[in-house]
């Protein structure tokens, strides 16, 4: 067994309205920043042990499917690093 950290990034699917990101963008503009767009995402860092990086990725993906992301509105990706 090897120790891994699986990083799960959950973001809204393309085209789904993100009012919080829009509000954040407006706040940055009020502070005088110039920007064309802003997207936000949630990042989860999951420490786990697995036989292989693929095994760790598979388990983290299942976590995303079943809880961390809502497939109706979210896409997600998983990156795995040895700890």
């Amino acid at each position: 067994m090897t120790a891994y950290t699986a990083t799960v990034t959950v973001r809204l699917k393309h085209g789904v309205l993100d009012p919080e990101a829009e509000t954040t963008k407006q706040a940055l503009e009020r502070l005088g920043f110039e920007l064309e767009g802003l997207r936000s995402a949630d990042r989860f860092e999951v420490d786990l042990e697995a036989d292989s990086a693929d095994g760790a990725r598979e388990r983290a993906s299942e976590m995303a499917e079943r809880l961390l992301a809502n497939p109706t509105i979210h896409d997600y990706d998983v990156e795995v690093d040895e700890r």
């Binding site: 699917k13 309205l17 993100d18 009012p19 079943r66 809880l67 961390l68 809502n70 109706t72």
Partner: protein, 225 residues
């Protein structure tokens, strides 16, 4: 014959629901989620509130609690299930109904009276109304914007699963009358069976005559059927 109102940590409309149902002569009791559904459950209310502090996403945690497996089971058997506000978010998160209720277009919590157009009058929840009726019911949510991809929304509409849409006082469905940016103005939808429904507005807050309009009574009468 008792309606179970499922209380999660952070539910706060459970007592309102009990009182409103009681006013209509419908026997109901509050059930702690950890105790499971009583055997004599004749209906289920998933009440409003902020279960688990809306952690992760509104309704996400409650939707995955063990009692929801029981709720899905009885729902599949035809026991009426109504999700209101946070209960609607839980319903969608748990797969009882299609779609997701997410952050309002305004990015603000909105607490106001809205008008709903009744889209179906042949369900237990709307038998007291006629199709096209306009009812006044309050909303109180920060995450009530109905979201579903275009193809699945078209399927939902083709299958007549939309129960209520936001509208103006005259029943016109317009952008101005849509309080939260919900796609196609959807305020409430049916599950696979007509006996399962979720909606963001609060019928239990429009039931007791001493607190204002009583247009919500018809929805709760779905438990009499």
């Amino acid at each position: 014959m008792t309606v179970s109102i499922v209380r999660f940590g952070g539910s706060n409309c459970d007592r309102d629901a009990k009182r409103a149902l009681g006013h209509l002569g419908i026997d109901a009791e509050i059930v702690w989620h950890g105790d499971g559904l009583p055997a004599e459950t004749s209906g289920v209310v998933l009440p409003g509130g902020f279960s688990y502090g809306d952690y992760l996403r509104a309704g996400a945690m409650a939707a995955r609690s063990p009692i929801m497996a029981e709720v899905r089971e009885v729902a599949a058997d035809g026991v009426p299930v109504l999700g209101v506000c946070n209960g609607a978010q839980i319903g969608c998160e748990s797969g009882l109904t299609e779609g997701a209720f997410t952050t309002n277009e305004s990015a603000r919590f909105q607490c106001e009276h809205v008008y709903l157009r009744v889209e179906r009058d042949d369900t237990p929840w709307t038998a007291a109304y006629d199709e096209g009726d306009v009812i006044e019911i309050p909303i109180a949510h920060g995450e009530g914007r109905y979201e579903l991809d275009d193809d699945r929304l078209a399927e939902l509409e083709d299958g007549n699963r939309v129960l209520f849409r936001y509208c103006d006082e005259d029943g016109s469905v317009t952008d101005d009358a849509n309080p939260n940016g919900s796609k196609h103005d959807v305020a409430g939808v049916l599950g696979e069976r007509d006996t399962v429904a979720v909606l963001m507005p609060h019928p239990e807050r429009a039931t007791l005559p001493d607190v204002g309009p009583t247009d919500g009574q018809g929805v709760l009468r779905g438990f009499e059927a």
